[in-house]
C-alpha cells in the first residue's frame, strides 16, 4: 500500500482541482458551439464592418464634405432672414464666404477625380449630426434673443474647424502636391475666420488674444496664437437657460468615425 505524506496529498489534490476547472472552461463534448455568449432572449446578428483605409482620397473627400457643411450652413443662415439692419453687411460677407467654399469644394473634388476617386458632394453626415444640426436648433429656438449673432459665432467656428482640418491633414497626405493644395485652401479658411472674428470682436482689441475682465473668459481673437492651433473649438449659442448659462458645443476636426470613406455616400 502506497503511503503519501500530507504535503503530497495536498499537492495532487490541487492539480486535480485545476484540471477540473480548465476542463470546464474548454470545449465540451457533445455540446454545440455558439458564437454568442449564452444569454436569455434572441442574440443580435453579427455585423461585419467594411474594411476601410485612410488614404489620400478619403482625406480629400472628408475635406470636400466640410466644404459642403460650410456651404449648407451659410445657406441656412441666409435663409433665416436674420441679416437685416445692422447685420446686412454680414449677409454680403456670408454670400462671399459661401461662394469661396463652393470654389474650394470644386477644387478638392477635381483632385479626387484625378486620383480616381468619387467626388463627395454633400455635407459630412457625422459633422452635421453632432455639431451643425444641434447648433442650428439652438440658434433658431424661439426664445433665442440674438440669432444673427449666433449664426456668425457658428460660422466663425466652422471656418476655424476647416482651417484646422486642412492644416492637420498635411502630415497625413502621402502626396506632397496634395499637401500643398490642402494648406493652400486652409489659409483661405483662416482668412475667412479673421473676417468673422472681426465681426464678433471688432477693432484693434479683437486682433490678439485677450480676456473679458467681467467673465474671465477668452475673447474672440482674429489671430489667436503664433502657430495655427489644432485644438477643440468651443461654440456657445442659443437662448439663455434658467441658470443663466448658455449651451456650449465642442467642435473637433474629423476623426476616424467621421471621415468620408469610400463607403460613405450622399444618397
Amino acid at each position: 500500500m502506497n503511503r503519501y505524506s500530507r504535503r503530497q496529498v495536498l499537492r495532487f489534490g490541487g492539480v486535480g482541482v485545476a484540471g477540473v476547472v480548465l476542463a470546464a472552461c474548454g470545449k465540451q463534448a457533445k455540446v454545440p458551439e455558439s458564437e454568442n455568449v449564452v444569454s436569455v432572449g434572441p442574440a443580435p446578428s453579427k455585423v461585419t464592418l467594411p474594411n476601410v483605409e485612410v488614404n489620400d482620397v478619403v482625406l480629400l473627400r472628408t475635406a470636400a464634405s466640410l466644404e459642403f457643411n460650410a456651404i449648407d450652413t451659410y445657406d441656412a443662415a441666409l435663409g433665416l432672414g436674420v441679416f437685416t439692419g445692422a447685420f446686412a453687411a454680414a449677409g454680403d460677407i456670408a454670400k462671399r464666404l459661401r461662394d469661396d467654399h463652393k470654389g474650394h469644394a470644386e477644387a478638392i473634388n477635381g483632385l479626387i477625380t484625378k486620383l480616381g476617386g468619387t467626388p463627395f458632394t454633400c455635407g459630412n453626415p457625422r459633422i452635421t449630426e453632432v455639431y451643425i444640426a444641434p447648433a442650428l436648433e439652438l440658434i433658431t429656438a424661439t426664445d433665442n434673443e440674438n440669432p444673427a449673432l449666433d449664426v456668425v459665432v457658428l460660422a466663425h467656428a466652422l471656418e476655424n474647424l476647416a482651417a484646422q482640418t486642412y492644416q492637420g491633414v498635411v502630415t497625413m497626405l502621402s502626396d506632397k502636391s496634395l499637401r500643398q493644395a490642402a494648406i493652400g485652401i486652409g489659409q483661405d479658411e483662416a482668412r475667412h475666420a479673421v473676417v468673422l472674428a472681426q465681426a464678433l470682436n471688432p477693432g484693434l482689441g479683437g486682433i490678439l488674444p485677450s480676456v473679458n475682465p467681467d467673465t474671465g473668459k477668452a475673447n474672440v481673437a482674429a489671430v489667436p496664437s503664433a502657430f495655427g492651433p489644432l485644438t477643440p473649438i468651443n461654440v456657445t449659442v442659443g437662448p439663455v437657460q434658467a441658470d443663466g448659462s448658455r449651451v456650449s458645443l465642442i467642435l473637433e476636426t474629423p476623426s476616424l468615425n467621421s471621415l468620408a470613406y469610400d463607403s460613405v455616400s450622399c444618397s
Binding site: D100, V170, K176, Q187, A190, Q198, I207, A226, F227, T253
Partner: protein
C-alpha cells in the same frame, strides 16, 4: 480630432529649405520691429505690430529648432531689403499694405515649401505658420480699410530659396 500621424524628420534637402524659411522669418521680425517703432502708430496699433513681430520670431525659432545646428539664425537680407524702404512716413495704410504684401509673400513661399519638403515634421510646422500668417495678412487689409477681397485673396508670388 484626427489621430496624430507619425511625422518624419527633415531630409538633407529639407534642411536648406527650412533654413531659408528661418532667415525669411527673421527678416519679417526685423521689418515689424521697424514698423512698430514708427511714431505714426498709436500705442494700441504698436501692440498689434509687436504681437505679429513676436509671431515671426517664434516661427524663426521653431524652424531653427527643427533644422538644428545648420540653422543660419540670420535674417534673409533680400527679403528685408525688398520691404524696408516702404516702412517709412506717416501713411499708415501704405505701411499696412507693405506688411500685408510681406505676409502674403511669406504665405505663398511657405505654401510652396509644403509641396517640396520630404519630411512631414517640416511640413506640419510650416503649415501651422501659414495659417497664422494668412490671418496676419487678412488683419492688415482690414485695419488699412481695404476691400474684403484684399483680406481674402493672396496674389503674391513665392520667393525662391537661393535665388538672391
Amino acid at each position: 480630432m484626427m489621430n496624430p500621424s507619425a511625422t518624419t524628420p527633415p531630409s538633407t534637402a529639407d534642411v536648406a529649405l527650412l533654413a531659408f524659411g528661418n532667415g525669411a522669418e527673421l527678416a519679417a521680425r526685423d521689418l515689424y520691429a521697424v514698423a512698430a517703432g514708427l511714431s505714426a502708430f498709436s500705442d494700441e496699433e504698436q501692440a498689434v505690430l509687436v504681437g505679429f513681430h513676436d509671431h515671426h520670431r517664434a516661427a524663426a525659432q521653431a524652424l531653427a529648432g527643427l533644422v538644428g545646428s545648420d540653422a543660419p539664425n540670420v535674417r534673409e537680407d533680400a527679403v528685408y531689403n525688398a520691404f524696408r524702404s516702404r516702412l517709412e512716413g506717416t501713411d499708415k495704410s501704405a505701411i499696412y499694405d507693405a506688411l500685408r504684401e510681406l505676409e502674403n509673400t511669406l504665405v505663398a513661399t511657405h505654401t510652396t515649401l509644403v509641396g517640396t519638403l520630404d519630411g512631414t515634421a517640416g511640413s506640419a510646422l510650416i503649415a501651422s505658420v501659414i495659417t497664422t500668417q494668412a490671418r496676419h495678412a487678412a488683419v492688415l487689409a482690414l485695419v488699412a480699410g481695404r476691400a474684403l477681397n484684399d483680406a481674402l485673396v493672396n496674389s503674391a508670388t513665392a520667393l525662391t530659396p537661393g535665388a538672391n
